[in-house]
C-alpha cells in the first residue's frame, strides 16, 4: 500500500467513478451532474499535478497485477505518459466546462456525460499503459466509449457516421491485436521501455518484425487518420462540438498518434526501427497525409469539415517527427502532441460557439463575425495562426523543431513538405480569419441573436479563450523548463541516452 502504486489507479478511478455516477444519476438532476463532472475533472487534474510533481522529484509510479497467467496489466508513469496525461487532464477540465454550457437544454445528458467520462478514462489508460496489452485494452475501450458520443444526436447522418467510425476503428483494433499477438509469440510480453525491447530477437525474426510493425502501424494509423485510413474522421464531425473538440485534440486521434510513438520509441526502439528500415516509408506516408489533408481542407466550405481535414494533416506532423531520427525531430513530433491539442480544441470550441449562438456552419456565412463575437474569433485567430506556424504561437515551435530535425536526420525533402503544408494551411485558414475581421457582417445571423453583455455564455467563452492562451503561452515561453517543449526534453534524454 503506497502512493506510488495507488496514484495511477486513482487517476483512472477519478473518471471511471464519475462515469458510473453519471449513469446512476437521474436525467433531470442537472445541477448535481454538473457538480459531479466538474469535481471529477478537477480531482483528476490535481492528481495528475501530484504525479507530475512526484515524477519531477524522481518518484516512480507503477501499478501492476497479473490478470492472466504470464500477462500483466500495468500502469506506469514515464515522462511520455506524463506528457499525454497532463494534456488530457487539462483539456478534459476545459471541455467539461464547455460541454456543460453547450448541452444546456438538450436531452440525453446522462448518457452523454457518462460516456464522456468513460472516454476520458480510456484516454488516461492509453496514456499510462505500461505495456502493449494494457495499451490495447484501453485503446479498444476508447473505441467503444466514443461511439455513443459520435452518434449522440441520433440523426440519420450521425448514425451513418457512427457506423463508419466503428467499422474503421474496430478493423484497426483487430489489426493491432493481430500484431500484438504475433509479437508476443516471438518475444513474450512486451513492456514499454525507452529504447525498445526487441534488440535481442532482431537477428532471427527480422522480416517478421517488419511485418508486425506494418500491421501495428496500420492498426494505429486508423485512429491517427493516416491517409488512406482517414475516411471516418471528416464524417465523425457530426458529433456535438465538445465531442469533436475532444476527439480531434486528445481522445481518439491522439491515442492513435500516441500509440505510434509508443511502438516506435518504446517497443521497437528508434535505432532498431531505423536499422529495420521502417522509418523512411512511414515518414513518406506521413508527408503524403500532411499534404493531402491540407489539399482537401482547401475545398471544404463547412467549417467543421475544414477543421477535420486540417486535423488529418496536423496529426501526421506528430508521426513525421517521430520518424525523424534525432533529438530535434523527436522534440518536434512530441511537442506537437500537446501543441496540436491546444490549438485544435480551440478551433472546435469556436466553431461550436458560432454554430450554437449564430447558427453559422459554413465558412461563407462568416463575414464580419469578428464584430459580433470578438473573443471567440480572437481565440480562433490565435489558434489558426498557430496551425499555419506563425510565431509566436505554439505551432511555430513544432514546425521549427521538425525542420531542424529533418536536416539532422538527413531527410531534407521534409522541408519542402513543411513549407508547402504551411502555405496550404495559410490558404485555408487565412480566408476564414479575413472574412471574420475584414468583411462587413451580412449573414442571416445579423438579425438574430442580439448581443448580451457577453457575446456568449461564459461557459462557452472561457474554454476557447483559455486554450488559445495556452497555445500562445506554450510558444511564447517555449524555452521555460515546464513548457510543453521543456517537458519533452526528459523523454528525449532517455531516448538518446543509449
Amino acid at each position: 500500500m503506497n502512493w506510488e502504486f495507488w496514484l495511477p489507479l486513482l487517476v483512472l478511478a477519478s473518471s471511471l467513478v464519475t462515469a458510473l455516477a453519471n449513469f446512476g444519476l437521474d436525467e433531470e438532476r442537472h445541477a448535481a451532474r454538473n457538480i459531479l463532472n466538474l469535481t471529477g475533472a478537477t480531482v483528476k487534474l490535481v492528481l495528475v499535478g501530484i504525479i507530475f510533481w512526484g515524477e519531477f522529484h524522481g518518484r516512480l509510479y507503477e501499478a501492476r497485477w497479473e490478470f492472466l497467467p504470464g500477462l500483466d496489466l500495468a500502469l506506469r508513469v514515464d515522462p511520455l505518459a506524463l506528457l499525454f496525461a497532463t494534456l488530457s487532464a487539462i483539456l478534459w477540465l476545459v471541455t467539461t466546462i464547455y460541454a456543460i454550457g453547450y448541452l444546456e437544454e438538450s436531452p440525453n445528458r446522462r448518457r452523454f456525460f457518462g460516456f464522456f467520462s468513460l472516454c476520458v478514462t480510456a484516454t488516461m489508460g492509453v496514456a499510462l499503459a505500461g505495456n502493449l496489452i494494457t495499451f490495447l485494452v484501453f485503446y479498444e475501450l476508447l473505441t467503444i466509449a466514443t461511439y455513443p458520443l459520435v452518434v449522440h444526436e441520433g440523426t440519420e447522418e450521425a448514425l451513418k457516421a457512427g457506423r463508419t467510425y466503428l467499422l474503421y476503428t474496430v478493423g484497426g483494433g483487430a489489426l493491432l491485436l493481430t500484431g500484438i499477438v504475433w509479437l508476443y509469440g516471438i518475444s513474450g510480453p512486451v513492456e514499454f521501455v525507452s529504447g525498445g525491447v526487441l534488440g535481442d530477437v532482431a537477428g532471427t525474426y527480422r522480416y517478421q518484425l517488419i511485418a508486425i510493425f506494418a500491421i501495428m502501424i496500420a492498426g494505429l494509423g486508423v485512429k491517427a487518420a493516416i491517409v488512406p485510413l482517414h475516411g471516418w474522421l471528416p464524417q465523425a464531425m457530426v458529433a456535438p462540438a465538445p465531442v469533436s473538440a475532444l476527439l480531434h485534440a486528445v481522445a481518439v486521434v491522439k491515442a492513435g498518434a500516441f500509440g505510434i510513438v509508443r511502438v516506435i520509441y518504446d517497443v521497437y526502439g528508434l535505432s532498431f526501427s531505423a536499422s529495420l528500415g521502417v522509418l523512411q516509408p512511414l515518414s513518406v506516408l506521413a508527408a503524403v497525409t500532411i499534404i493531402y489533408g491540407s489539399l482537401k481542407a482547401l475545398s471544404q466550405d463547412n467549417l467543421k469539415r475544414r477543421l477535420a481535414y486540417s486535423t488529418i494533416s496536423q496529426l501526421s506532423y506528430i508521426v513525421l517527427g517521430t520518424t525523424l531520427f534525432g533529438p530535434l525531430g523527436t522534440a518536434g513530433g512530441l511537442v506537437h502532441l500537446m501543441h496540436q491539442g491546444f490549438m485544435k480544441i480551440t478551433l472546435f470550441f469556436c466553431a461550436g460557439n458560432l454554430a450554437e449562438t449564430l447558427g453559422i456552419h459554413d465558412v461563407h456565412e462568416m463575414n464580419g463575425v469578428g464584430r459580433r463575437m470578438p473573443w471567440t474569433m480572437a481565440s480562433f485567430t490565435v489558434a489558426a495562426l498557430g496551425m499555419i506556424g506563425i510565431p509566436p504561437v505554439a505551432g511555430f515551435v513544432s514546425k521549427w523543431y521538425l525542420g531542424l530535425g529533418a536536416i539532422e536526420a538527413g531527410q531534407q525533402w521534409v522541408i519542402p513538405v513543411l513549407i508547402v503544408s504551411s502555405l496550404l494551411n495559410a490558404a485555408y485558414f487565412l480566408p476564414i480569419v479575413f472574412r471574420a475581421w475584414f468583411r462587413e457582417p451580412d449573414g442571416e445571423w445579423t438579425e438574430l441573436q442580439p448581443r448580451g453583455r457577453l457575446e456568449v455564455g461564459w461557459m462557452l467563452l472561457v474554454p476557447p479563450v483559455a486554450t488559445a492562451l495556452l497555445a500562445l503561452l506554450a510558444g511564447l515561453f517555449a524555452g521555460w523548463d515546464f513548457s510543453p517543449l521543456g517537458l519533452t526534453q526528459e523523454i528525449i534524454e532517455d531516448l538518446y541516452a543509449q
Binding site: R163, T164, L167, Y168, G171, G172, I210, A211, A214, I215, I217, A218, G221, V222, I226, P228, L229, G231, W232, G277, V278, Q280, P281, V284, L285, L295, K296, L298, S299, L385, G389, I390, P391, P392, F396, V397, K399, W400, G403, L404, A406, I407, I415, I419, S422, L423, L424, A426, A427, L430, F438, E440, L476, F477, A478, G479, W480, D481, S483, L485
Partner: protein, 574 residues
C-alpha cells in the same frame, strides 16, 4: 537599462491591446498611441553597443543586443515611426475605425523595432512575422476593393517570402549549431547548401525589400494605405528586409563574385526600372512607391558589392547604414508630405511651407549637396570602387539624374494638386509640427551623424566647391532634362509611348489566374490561388475527388486497410 530594451517593443504591444478594448482604457490607449515609439528612440540614443541581455525562457531563448548597424537602423526606424505616429493622431482624428488602424499600426511597429534589437535567429523571425502580418491590417484599412486587392497581393507574396526565410533559417541554425544571430552569416557561408540558402534569403527578404521582380506589392499597397502607414512601409518596413540580408547573407566572409555581380545587376535594373515606371504614374503615392523600388535597388547594389570581398563589405556596410538612415527620413518625409499637401487648403503660407519641405526632401533623395543624400551617395560610390566595377560610377550618376527626374515629376503632381484645392481647412498642429521637424532633420542629419556613430565616412564639414559641384550637377541635369523633354513633348504634342499600370507585372499575372485556364479542364472562374487549387480538385475529371468518395464509404475500410499494408510492404522492399 533592461527595462528600456523591453519597453522598446512591449510598449507598442500593450498600447495596441488597449486600443481594441473599451471605454476609458481605449481612450487612454488612443491618447498614448502616437508616442509608442519613444522608448525605442531613447534606446537608440543611449544604448551601449556592447551590452546584451539573455532570456533563455522566452520563445526559444531570446537575446537582446545592438551592434552599430542595428543602432542606426533602430534610430531611423524609431524616428520615422514616431513622426508617423504623431502625424496619424490628427490625420485619423475623424476616422470612426481609427482604433483598428492603431492596433495594426502598433503591432507592426513592435515587430519592426523588435527585430532590430534582438540577436538571435528565432526572435528575429518572430518579430519579422509579427510585422509582416500586422502590416496587412494597415494596408487594407480602407476596406475598398483596391485595398483588398493590394492586401491580397501583399499577403500572398509576404507569406511565400516568410516560408523562404524559414527554410533558409533551418539550414542556417543547423549549420551554426545555435540561434546566435551574430554567427548566422558565417554559418551560411560554411553551409553545404550555401547557394540554396543564399537564394532562399535573397527571395525571402527580397519580398520585403521590394527587389525586382518581387516589388509588385509595393506600388499597390502604398497608395491604398493611410498616409502614415505608407510612410512607415517605405521608411521602415522595407529596411527590415534589408536588415535581414545584412544579418543572414554571407557578406564579408569570403568572396562570392558570381552572386555579387548578379545582385549588383539586379539592383541597378531596379534603380532604373523604378524611375521609369514611376515617371509614368499619375498618383503621387504610387510614384513614390516606385521611387522606393528604385532606391532599394541602390541598396541592393550595395549588398551585391558586399559579396565581392571582406574589404568591399566594410565600405558597403557603411554605405548601407548611412543610406538607410537617409532614405528612411527622406522617404518618410515625402510620403507624409503627400498627406501634408492634403491639409493645405487655401492657405498660402501653408502651401509654401509644404512645397519647400517637399523640395528639401526631394533634393535629399536626389543626392543634392549638403543633404543626407549626398553623404549616402558618396559612401555608396566609395564602396563600388572596391568592387572592380568601373561602370558603377557612371551608372550611379545616371541614377541620380533619373531620381531627379522622378522627383521633379512628383513635385509637379503635388503642385497641381495644391492648385486645385481651394477649400478652407483648419490648421492641425500635430500634422505640421512632426513633419517640419522631420524635414529639418533631413537637412542636418549629415552633420549630426559623426557624433552619433563612429563610421568611416567622408567628413561632412569638409566642404569644397568640387564636392558641391559633383553632387549638384546631376540634380541640375535632371531638372534641365525634365524641362527640356517636357517642353519638346508639349511643343510637338507627343504622348508617352507606353503606360505601366501600378503593380506592373502583377497585372498580367492576375489576368492569367483569372482566365479560365484549360489546365486539367477546370471550368470554374478562378480568382485566387486558393480557388485555383480548389478548382483542380473539384474538377470531375480529376481522380482525387472520386477516390475520396470511395474512401468515405464504410464498406471499403477493410480493402483500404489491406491495400495500405501492401503499399507499406512495397515501400519497405524499395
Amino acid at each position: 537599462m533592461i527595462a528600456l530594451w523591453l519597453a522598446a517593443f512591449l510598449v507598442p504591444i500593450i498600447v495596441a491591446l488597449t486600443v481594441v478594448s473599451r471605454g476609458a482604457l481605449r481612450s487612454a490607449g488612443l491618447w498614448l498611441a502616437p508616442w509608442s515609439a519613444l522608448p525605442a528612440l531613447v534606446l537608440a540614443l543611449v544604448a551601449n553597443v556592447d551590452s546584451s541581455y539573455e532570456f533563455p525562457w522566452l520563445v526559444l531563448g531570446t537575446r537582446f543586443g545592438l551592434d552599430t548597424a542595428g543602432q542606426v537602423f533602430l534610430l531611423a526606424a524609431a524616428l520615422v515611426w514616431l513622426v508617423a505616429g504623431i502625424f496619424a493622431r490628427d490625420y485619423l482624428a475623424h476616422d470612426p475605425e481609427r482604433h483598428r488602424f492603431w492596433f495594426f499600426f502598433l503591432l507592426s511597429m513592435s515587430g519592426n523595432l523588435g527585430l532590430i534589437v534582438v540577436e538571435d535567429v528565432v526572435s528575429f523571425y518572430v518579430f519579422f512575422s509579427v510585422m509582416t502580418f500586422a502590416a496587412y491590417g494597415v494596408v487594407v484599412h480602407d476596406r475598398g476593393q483596391a485595398a483588398f486587392r493590394a492586401g491580397r497581393v501583399y499577403l500572398t507574396m509576404a507569406i511565400v517570402g516568410e516560408m523562404c526565410i524559414l527554410a533558409g533559417m533551418f539550414f542556417t541554425v543547423w549549420g551554426a549549431g545555435g540561434t546566435d544571430l551574430r554567427i548566422a552569416s558565417e554559418a551560411v557561408a560554411a553551409s553545404p547548401q550555401r547557394d540554396l540558402v543564399i537564394a532562399l534569403f535573397l527571395v525571402g527578404f527580397g519580398v520585403k525589400v521590394g527587389v525586382l521582380p518581387l516589388h509588385m506589392w509595393l506600388p499597390l499597397a502604398h497608395p491604398v494605405a493611410p498616409t502614415p502607414a505608407s510612410a512607415v512601409l517605405s521608411g521602415c518596413m522595407l529596411k527590415a528586409g534589408l536588415l535581414g540580408w545584412v544579418r543572414f547573407l554571407p557578406l564579408g566572409i569570403e568572396p562570392l563574385v558570381g552572386w555579387g555581380e548578379f545582385i549588383m545587376v539586379v539592383g541597378l535594373l531596379a534603380a532604373f526600372f523604378g524611375v521609369l515606371a514611376g515617371l509614368l504614374q499619375d498618383d503621387p503615392k504610387t510614384l513614390l512607391a516606385y521611387s522606393s523600388v528604385s532606391q532599394m535597388g541602390l541598396l541592393t547594389l550595395a549588398i551585391g558589392v558586399g559579396f565581392i570581398g571582406p574589404e568591399s563589405w566594410d565600405l558597403a556596410l557603411t554605405a548601407v547604414i548611412v543610406y538607410v538612415l537617409h532614405h528612411s527620413l527622406a522617404k518618410g518625409a515625402l510620403f507624409l508630405g503627400v498627406g501634408v499637401a492634403g491639409a493645405v487648403g487655401d492657405s498660402l503660407w501653408r502651401r509654401r511651407v509644404a512645397l519647400t519641405g517637399l523640395a528639401v526632401a526631394a533634393l535629399a533623395l536626389s543626392g543634392a549637396p549638403l543633404t543626407s543624400g549626398a553623404l549616402a551617395k558618396t559612401a555608396l560610390k566609395d564602396a563600388t570602387h572596391t568592387a572592380h566595377a568601373p561602370w558603377a560610377d557612371l551608372l550611379l550618376t545616371l541614377s541620380a539624374i533619373a531620381t531627379t527626374l522622378l522627383m521633379v515629376r512628383f513635385l509637379l503632381l503635388i503642385r497641381v494638386q495644391l492648385a486645385d484645392d481651394d477649400s478652407s481647412k483648419p490648421f492641425q498642429l500635430w500634422i505640421w509640427l512632426p513633419w517640419t521637424g522631420l524635414v529639418a532633420l533631413i537637412g542636418s542629419i549629415a552633420l549630426l551623424l559623426p557624433w552619433y556613430v563612429d563610421l568611416e565616412i567622408a567628413d561632412p564639414t569638409a566642404v569644397t566647391l568640387a564636392k558641391i559641384w559633383s553632387g549638384l550637377w546631376p540634380v541640375l541635369a535632371g531638372v534641365v532634362l525634365f524641362g527640356g523633354v517636357g517642353y519638346l513633348a508639349r511643343r510637338y504634342n507627343v504622348q508617352a509611348p507606353l503606360r505601366i499600370p501600378a503593380g506592373d507585372l502583377i497585372v498580367p499575372i492576375e489576368a492569367m489566374l483569372a482566365r479560365k485556364p484549360d489546365l486539367a479542364g477546370i471550368r470554374s472562374e478562378v480568382q485566387s490561388p486558393r480557388r485555383f487549387v480548389v478548382g483542380i480538385f473539384q474538377n470531375r475529371k480529376w481522380p482525387l475527388r472520386r477516390i475520396e468518395s470511395v474512401m468515405a464509404q464504410w464498406g471499403n475500410a477493410g480493402i483500404l486497410l489491406m491495400s495500405l499494408l501492401i503499399a507499406f510492404l512495397l515501400l519497405l522492399a524499395v
